[in-house]
């Protein structure tokens, strides 16, 4: 067994004439935390959407956990062990916290009833409280609908969801972009917990301090292409910015941009 959890080869996505992602070669080792950085529109979210099967890729290969995969949708990816927090939060406003946490994988009883099987509210609520306590997420009442919660609380619910169900790979797309200082710290704590548990992570972020604090390696995207693959210890903020803006390109990616 290799220690590579995820590999993409020549991963490419066109939206009509828009080359949103072009020939991405990427590897992620087990237990490794990697950040993806790049300007808006660089193709970071597109890259995540290809991996999680949200939309069909134009070409290229994805090898997850040693096998080539073709996910038909995020559900497929999740069943294979990839948890994703998307930039547009996948939460249902009219449901409460624990409903959202368990949406699509409810705890149930009388399962022979098929779609009409009964919800085990008690167990789900207990698990929800445990998960939120563990992550130190602050929620006034888990039985309130999440409609009127702050951006940070909603984000925390979404992240608690991925942190609750142990996965082989977690992907977060700009999880702290809309958060205040304290809420950002909470999310970062959850990420550190994942690191301690040895769970690999792809983190998309614009926050240089956060990236330098949390990850092992930084991948820079520019105009749909990967232009740098940097070990955190061999680089610094200025260096990364130079790659993001196009002032620098690593020699091995010279053909790219």
């Amino acid at each position: 067994m290799s220690d590579i959890i995820l590999e993409t080869r020549d991963l490419t996505k066109y939206y009509g004439g828009v080359h949103a992602l072009e020939g991405a070669d990427f590897t992620l080792r087990k237990g490794e935390h990697v950040a993806i950085m790049g300007d808006n529109g660089a193709g970071k979210s597109t890259f995540v959407r290809q991996i999680t099967g949200v939309e069909p890729r134009t070409r290229g290969e994805i090898i997850f956990d040693g096998k080539p995969v073709h996910f038909d949708g995020p559900l497929d990816a999740r069943q294979a062990g990839i948890e994703a927090v998307f930039q547009t939060l996948a939460l249902a406003d009219d449901l409460d916290v624990s409903d959202n946490l368990f949406l699509g994988r409810e705890k149930t009883w009388a399962n022979w009833l098929g779609p009409f099987r009964f919800l085990d509210y008690k167990a789900m609520r207990a698990d929800t409280i445990a998960a939120l306590e563990k992550t130190a997420v602050k929620i006034p009442n888990i039985r309130n609908t999440i409609q009127y919660m702050s951006g940070g609380q909603r984000q925390c619910v979404a992240i608690a969801r991925t942190a609750t169900f142990h996965s082989k790979l977690t992907i977060m797309d700009e999880p702290t972009a809309a958060l205040g200082v304290q809420e950002t710290a909470q999310v970062e704590n959850i990420i550190r917990t994942l690191k301690e548990q040895g769970e690999p992570l792809i983190l998309i972020s614009h926050n240089m301090r956060q990236v330098m604090d949390l990850v092992d390696r930084i991948i820079v995207f520019r105009r749909g292409r990967i232009v740098a693959n940097l070990n955190k210890d061999d680089t610094d903020g200025q260096d990364v910015v130079a790659y993001i803006t196009g002032a620098k390109t690593q020699p091995e990616y010279a053909g790219a941009a």
Binding site: G73, L91, A92, F118, L119, P140
Partner: protein, 360 residues
């Protein structure tokens, strides 16, 4: 201060500020509407002090005007059954306009399987089929009706889920198709003279019994099962539901099937109660069923509402209808007033949403 630390992460949670269930509002509205009619009865000069709610015939054994109450619930029970299904459709973010004509089509078809051979010793003058279809066990028309309902619902659901036709358009088409089926089935002739056991299904207060039983079942489905949770999730945020791994298409087909089966069952009860089926039956039923749900707090934007709300909405609907008759409002005005009430309910829902959004 009722502050506690029930929140997670040590956050204070003030339980006294828990949101007030919307069903209470509808119940209060119901009480107010009854009071308004009561007052109108006292004030309008031509009413001679008749009471809307109370017994004024000086009978000692009763307080309320039971006859009126009975008529109110009997009137709303059958459309109420349809409304239970429509509620689920609307919560999922859809709409079903086909239920009224579906009632007519189902009633026509089902009655042809429920006919008796001899009427007062003479051959059944309205026979649709040959001898084989006379005096079948009552289960046969019931099964035929439910299968027909499930079939129509499946077409609605498949059209909406797989071709992305807006629910409004798909079910509007089905509205016409079903009305056409109802008229074509016997070339416009009514179908009458059912068997005794069929006639028993909707006799007396049976429609109310069915309505209450089905309301309980639907309440349990929506509140306590995966089916219900996913229905709310789809209506609340369809993309989120899909991302969470819910098979949204299959679920929508299921919802429309259940709704149409409830409408078909209402057709069985209605034709049994009337002892006849006519192609013009169920006029405006789809709109009244939607109105009951909307008055009951089911949000047309999806994701919000409940069976309890819809049952209360049905009661409001029945009280208003009965109240209009009580104050001798002309039938034409009654329909217009109903329209105004439906519009008010939707406006109220919008207003409630906005107020809730600014309160926190």
């Amino acid at each position: 201060m009722a502050e506690t630390t029930h929140g997670t992460g040590g956050l204070k949670y003030d339980s006294s500020r828990r949101s007030w269930p919307n069903e209470f509002n509808i119940f209060i509205a119901l009480v107010i509407i009854v009071a308004i009619f009561e007052v109108l009865g006292q004030l309008l000069p031509y009413m001679n002090g008749q009471s809307f709610l109370f017994d004024t015939n000086d009978r000692f054994d009763s307080i309320f005007n039971e006859a009126r109450l009975r008529i109110i619930i009997l009137q709303v029970a059958i459309i109420g059954i349809i409304s239970l299904g429509v509620t689920q459709v609307i919560i999922s973010g859809g709409i079903d306009l086909s239920s009224g004509p579906l009632v007519a089509a189902t009633a026509m078809i089902v009655m042809s399987f429920a006919q008796t051979e001899l009427v007062n010793g003479n051959p059944n003058p309205k026979a649709v089929f040959g001898d084989w279809a006379f005096d079948l066990p009552v289960i046969v028309p019931i099964i035929v009706g439910l299968i027909f309902g499930a079939f129509i619902g499946a077409i609605n659901g498949i059209l909406i889920a797989f071709t992305r036709i807006p629910p409004f358009i798909a079910t509007l088409g089905m509205f016409l198709i079903c009305r056409g089926i109802a008229q074509w089935w016997t070339r416009g002739q009514p179908v009458s003279f059912p068997t005794e056991s069929y006639a028993a299904l909707g006799a007396g207060m049976m429609p109310v019994v069915w309505f209450i039983m089905l309301a309980v079942v639907c309440h349990v489905l929506l509140r306590y099962t995966v089916y219900g949770k996913h229905t709310y999730a789809i209506g609340s945020n369809e993309d989120a539901a899909r991302m969470s791994g819910i098979n949204v298409r299959r679920h929508k087909v299921l919802i429309y099937m259940i709704a149409s089966m409830l409408a078909a069952f209402a057709a069985i009860i209605l034709s049994s109660k009337n002892l006849t089926a006519q192609s013009g039956m169920g006029l405006f039923y789809e709109l009244y069923a939607i109105a009951m749900a909307v008055i009951g707090g089911v949000s047309l934007t999806g994701g919000r509402g409940s069976i309890i709300g819809t049952v209360l909405g049905a009661m409001v609907f029945g009280v208003i209808q009965s109240g209009f008759t009580y104050i001798k409002l002309d039938a034409y005005f009654q329909i217009m007033a109903m329209g105004a009430i439906i519009i008010s309910a939707v406006v109220l829902d919008k207003w409630r949403q906005q107020r809730a959004a600014t309160r926190i």
